[in-house]
C-alpha cells in the first residue's frame, strides 16, 4: 500500500547504516518519576544525519526517553535521570553543560500542539529571536517564511501571520509548532508524534520535511504509525514497558526483527 516516495527511494540507497557516526549516545539511561521507574537501563545511540524512530505501545517510555535527550525532564518535579547521555562528545547531564544551549542544539516538537498564545509570526520568530539568530527584521521574516514553508503551513497562513496561533485548527497548530522548532535550526530535532494531529496531506509534507532535514540534521521521532516509522526512518528502536527491546535498521526491523516481541508488535497489529 505504500507508494514509493522519494524519501523511501533514497532510504533504500542507504547501505552502510552501521558506519554512520553517533550523534548521541545513551548509556544505561534510567528515568524515575518520583518512586516510579519509567525507563530501565536503556542503551540507545542516535546516528548522525539519520532519522531514528521510537516505537512501542502507549506508556512504554518513548516520550520519556525522548525528553531525556534534551533534558526536558528537568522541568518535571521529581523526575530523575541516571546513566549517561552524550551529544557529540559532551555529556549532557554534566553539571557544566548548559541546558539552554543543549536545547537550542536539540530541538523538540511535542505530542500536543502547544502554540504560544501569540501571533503566528511571533510563535515562529520566538526561537530565532531569543537566540539572536537573525541579524535584521528582513532576516527574521525570511526565517519565519522558510520555516513555515518547510512545515507546509506557509500557503495557509501567509495572509494572517499576524493573527493568533491559537486560532488555527489542531493540525495547523501542530505544524506551527514544527515550524517553530525548525526555525532555530537545531542539530537534533526530537519529535514526539508530530503527525498525530495531522491529516495525510500535511503529514506527507512533514515527512518530506523530515526527509529534507535529515541531510543536515539528526532526527528522533516517536510515532505510533508503523508505516510512518517505515517511511521516514533509517533506524528504529522498539520500547516495551520501559525497556529497549530492539534497535535496528528500519528495513530489518520491519522485515526480520531479532526480538519476538518486536515481531509480535509489528506483525500482530498495524497502524
Amino acid at each position: 500500500m505504500n507508494m514509493l516516495t522519494e524519501a523511501a527511494v533514497e532510504k533504500a540507497l542507504d547501505h552502510k547504516m552501521s558506519n554512520v557516526p553517533y550523534k548521541m549516545i545513551g548509556k544505561d539511561v534510567s528515568v524515575y518519576y518520583g518512586e516510579k521507574r519509567a525507563l530501565f537501563d536503556v542503551n540507545l545511540n542516535i546516528r548522525e544525519n539519520t532519522v531514528t524512530a521510537l516505537i512501542g505501545p502507549s506508556g512504554c517510555g518513548k516520550s520519556t526517553f525522548l525528553r531525556s535527550l534534551n533534558r526536558m525532564n528537568d522541568t518535571i518535579d521529581g523526575c530523575r535521570v541516571t546513566g549517561k547521555i552524550t551529544l557529540d562528545t559532551d555529556d549532557i547531564y554534566d553539571p557544566d553543560i548548559d541546558v539552554v544551549e543543549l536545547r537550542a542544539r536539540v530541538g523538540m516538537v511535542f505530542q500536543k500542539p502547544n502554540p504560544f498564545p501569540k501571533t503566528i509570526y511571533e510563535n515562529v520568530s520566538y526561537g530565532p529571536r531569543i537566540h539572536g539568530l537573525a541579524k535584521s527584521k528582513a532576516d527574521l521574516d525570511q526565517i519565519v517564511e522558510t520555516s513555515l514553508q518547510r512545515a507546509g503551513l506557509w500557503n495557509e497562513v501567509k495572509d494572517r501571520v499576524h493573527e493568533s496561533g491559537t486560532g488555527l485548527s489542531g493540525g495547523q497548530q501542530q505544524r506551527l509548532c514544527i515550524a517553530r522548532a525548525v526555525a532555530v535550526s537545531p542539530e537534533v530535532i526530537l519529535m514526539d508524534e508530530p503527525c498525530s494531529a495531522l491529516d495525510p496531506i500535511a503529514t506527507a509534507k512533514v515527512e518530506e520535511l523530515i526527509h529534507e532535514l535529515r541531510e543536515n540534521y539528526t532526527i528522533v521521532i516517536v510515532t505510533h504509525s508503523m508505516q510512518q516509522a517505515a517511511r521516514v526512518s533509517q533506524r528504529t528502536a522498539m520500547f516495551h514497558l520501559g525497556n529497549l527491546v530492539e534497535e535496528n535498521d528500519t528495513d530489518k526491523m520491519f522485515t526480520n526483527p531479532d526480538d519476538p516481541r518486536t515481531q509480535d508488535y509489528i506483525m500482530g497489529r498495524f497502524g
Binding site: 526536558m72 536545547r103 520566538y126 526561537g127 537545531p186
Partner: protein, 493 residues
C-alpha cells in the same frame, strides 16, 4: 412563634419536601434512572425550593412591612391631643409605647394587674425587669402598648399561618408536578442562575447607592461653588468654616488630583516590580516549601492596619530618608542639608507600595501558576532560558489576569488615606519634586468629612464632590484599561 423557629420549621419542611420528592422521583423511575429527565436529587431540590422560597419571601416582606402598618394603626388610636402634636413628637411617644409594650410582655398577669393603673409603679416595675423608661408613661401609652401587643400577636399569628400554608402548598404543588420527563434540573438551575444574577447585580446596586448617596450633597456644593472653579482650580485652600466666618476659600481639584496620581504612581513603581518579581519567583523558581511560607507571609502585609504603616512612615521611613538625603548632599556638596523632606511623595509612595506588594504578588502568583505547563515546555524546548520563557511566554499569557490584579492594586493606592496623611502630609500643592509633600483626593475626602467644619458649608460638601469626581475619573481609567486588555489579550487553551 419566633422568627427563628419559623425559619427552622421552613428548613424542616424544605428538607421533608426534598426527601419526599426525591423518593417519589426514584419510584417513578421504577429503578431505571434513565427514565427520569434529571437526577432524583434535582426533583428533591425543586420541591424544596417551592416549599421554602415563596414562604421565605413572604416572611421577609411581612417582617419588614408589618411593624409600619401596626404602628400607623396604633397611632391612629392615640388621643386627639397627642395627635395634635408634631409628628416627630408622636414618633418619640410611640417609641415609648413600644418600650412599654416590650416591658409588658415580661410581666406576669398578676404583676400587670398590680401596676395597671399606676404609671409610676409601672415604670419602677419595668426598671426592675431591665426595661428602663425615660419617664413616666402616660395612661394613653399603656393602652396603646396593650393594643400594640395585641396587634403584633395577631400579625404574627397570621404571618405564621400564611407562611406555613405557603410552604406546604408549595411543596405539594412541586410534588404534583413531578413526572419522569419533568425538567427538574433545568428549573433548579434556573433558580440558581437567578441567584447568581442577583449576586452580580449587587455590584450595580452598590454603584447606584454610592452615586446616589453622594449626588445630592455634591449638587449642593456645586450650587455654591462654580464647577469651573472646582475642576480647573489650581489652589486648594478651603478656609475653616466654623462658627462665625461665612467666607470660604478656594477648592481647586487639580493639586489633589496631581498628588493622587503622583503618589499612586510612586506606590505602583514600588509595588509592581517587587510584587511581580516576587510572584514570578514564587510561581516559577521557589520550591513549594519556600512558596508555602513566603506567600502567606507577604499576605500579612496586606492585613496590617494602614495606621501602622502611617506611623511607620512618620517615625521611621520619613526621617530616615531625610537624614539619608542630608548625608548624600553632604558627601556631594559638603552642605548637610536634606533635599528629601520627612514628609514627601516618596515616603508615602514607598510605604504604600510595601502595603500593596501582596496585592500584586499573590494574585499574580495564582495567575502565573495557572498558565499551562505545555506553554512552558514549548518555550523551554526551543532552548529558551527560564527567564526568557517567563518574560516572553508565561507573562503575556497571564497578562489579562495580571492587569486585573494591577488595576486592583492601583485602585487600592488611590483609595488609601492614612498612609498619605502621615507620610505625605495634607498640604495640597502643585509641584513635581517627589521629595516634597503633596496630598491626595482621598485624604481630603476623609478630612473634610471628619473635621470640626460646619456640615452645611462647602468645606464639608466638597468631600462629596471630590468623591463623585474621583469615581468618574477612575471609571474612565478602568474603561480604558479594559479596552487595552481586550486588545492585547492572549487566550490559551
Amino acid at each position: 412563634m419566633s422568627t427563628s423557629i419559623i425559619l427552622l420549621c421552613l428548613v424542616v419542611i424544605g428538607a421533608a419536601a426534598y426527601l419526599v420528592a426525591r423518593s417519589r422521583a426514584t419510584a417513578l423511575a421504577g429503578g431505571r434512572s434513565s427514565a427520569l429527565h434529571s437526577r432524583p436529587a434535582y426533583y428533591g431540590a425543586y420541591a424544596a425550593i417551592w416549599a421554602v422560597l415563596p414562604a421565605l419571601i413572604v416572611l421577609c416582606v411581612w417582617l419588614s412591612v408589618s411593624p409600619g402598618i401596626i404602628q400607623s394603626s396604633v397611632r391612629s388610636a392615640f388621643p386627639a391631643d397627642v395627635k395634635a402634636q408634631a409628628s416627630v413628637e408622636q414618633d418619640l411617644g410611640y417609641s415609648m409605647v413600644a418600650t412599654v409594650a416590650r416591658g409588658l410582655t415580661m410581666l406576669t398577669s398578676d404583676e400587670a394587674a398590680a401596676v395597671a393603673n399606676d404609671p409610676a409603679a409601672l415604670q419602677a416595675k419595668l426598671l426592675e425587669k431591665g426595661v428602663p423608661l425615660a419617664g413616666q408613661p402616660q395612661p394613653y401609652m399603656v393602652d396603646a402598648a396593650k393594643t400594640l401587643n395585641a396587634k403584633s400577636m395577631t400579625s404574627r399569628l397570621a404571618m405564621t399561618a400564611i407562611v406555613f400554608i405557603l410552604a406546604v402548598s408549595g411543596a405539594f404543588y412541586a410534588l404534583r408536578s413531578i413526572a419522569p420527563r419533568f425538567r427538574a434540573r433545568n428549573r433548579v438551575e434556573r433558580v440558581m442562575l437567578w441567584g447568581l444574577l442577583l449576586a452580580s447585580s449587587i455590584a450595580i446596586l452598590t454603584t447606584i447607592g454610592i452615586v446616589l448617596s453622594m449626588l445630592s450633597e455634591a449638587a449642593r456644593f456645586f450650587a455654591v461653588v462654580p464647577a469651573a472653579d472646582f475642576f480647573f482650580g489650581t489652589v486648594w485652600d478651603p478656609r475653616f468654616a466654623g462658627a462665625g466666618s461665612s467666607s470660604f476659600g478656594q477648592f481647586g481639584l487639580i493639586p489633589l488630583l496631581l498628588g493622587t496620581v503622583y503618589i499612586g504612581l510612586v506606590a505602583m513603581l514600588v509595588a509592581v516590580p517587587v510584587g511581580l518579581f516576587a510572584a514570578i519567583y514564587m510561581a516559577e523558581y521557589a520550591s513549594p516549601k519556600v512558596r508555602g511560607v513566603a506567600k502567606p507571609l507577604l499576605e500579612v502585609l496586606a492585613g496590617i492596619p494602614t495606621i501602622v504603616y502611617g506611623f511607620f512612615a512618620l517615625v521611621t521611613v520619613g526621617p530616615f530618608l531625610r537624614d539619608f538625603s542630608a548625608q548624600i548632599s553632604g558627601l556631594l556638596s559638603g552642605s548637610y542639608s536634606n533635599f528629601i523632606q520627612a514628609q514627601s511623595v516618596l515616603t508615602a509612595g514607598i510605604v504604600m507600595g510595601i502595603m500593596l506588594i501582596p496585592y500584586v504578588s499573590s494574585l499574580s502568583d495564582d495567575i502565573i501558576t495557572a498558565v499551562p505547563r505545555a506553554l512552558r515546555d514549548g518555550s523551554l524546548g526551543l532552548g529558551a532560558t527560564r527567564s526568557e520563557t517567563i518574560k516572553k511566554v508565561v507573562l503575556p499569557a497571564a497578562l489579562p489576569g495580571i492587569v486585573g490584579a494591577l488595576l486592583m492594586t492601583a485602585s487600592r493606592a488611590i483609595g488609601e488615606t492614612m498612609i498619605v496623611v502621615l507620610a505625605a502630609g495634607v498640604a495640597a500643592r502643585i509641584q513635581i519634586n517627589p521629595f516634597e509633600p503633596m496630598t491626595t483626593v482621598t485624604v481630603k475626602i476623609v478630612n473634610q468629612l471628619t473635621g470640626d467644619l460646619e456640615f452645611t458649608s462647602p468645606q464639608t460638601l466638597v468631600a462629596f464632590a471630590l468623591g463623585i469626581t474621583l469615581f468618574c475619573i477612575t471609571l474612565c481609567l478602568n474603561i480604558y484599561a479594559l479596552y487595552i486588555v481586550r486588545k492585547y489579550r492572549e487566550q490559551y487553551e
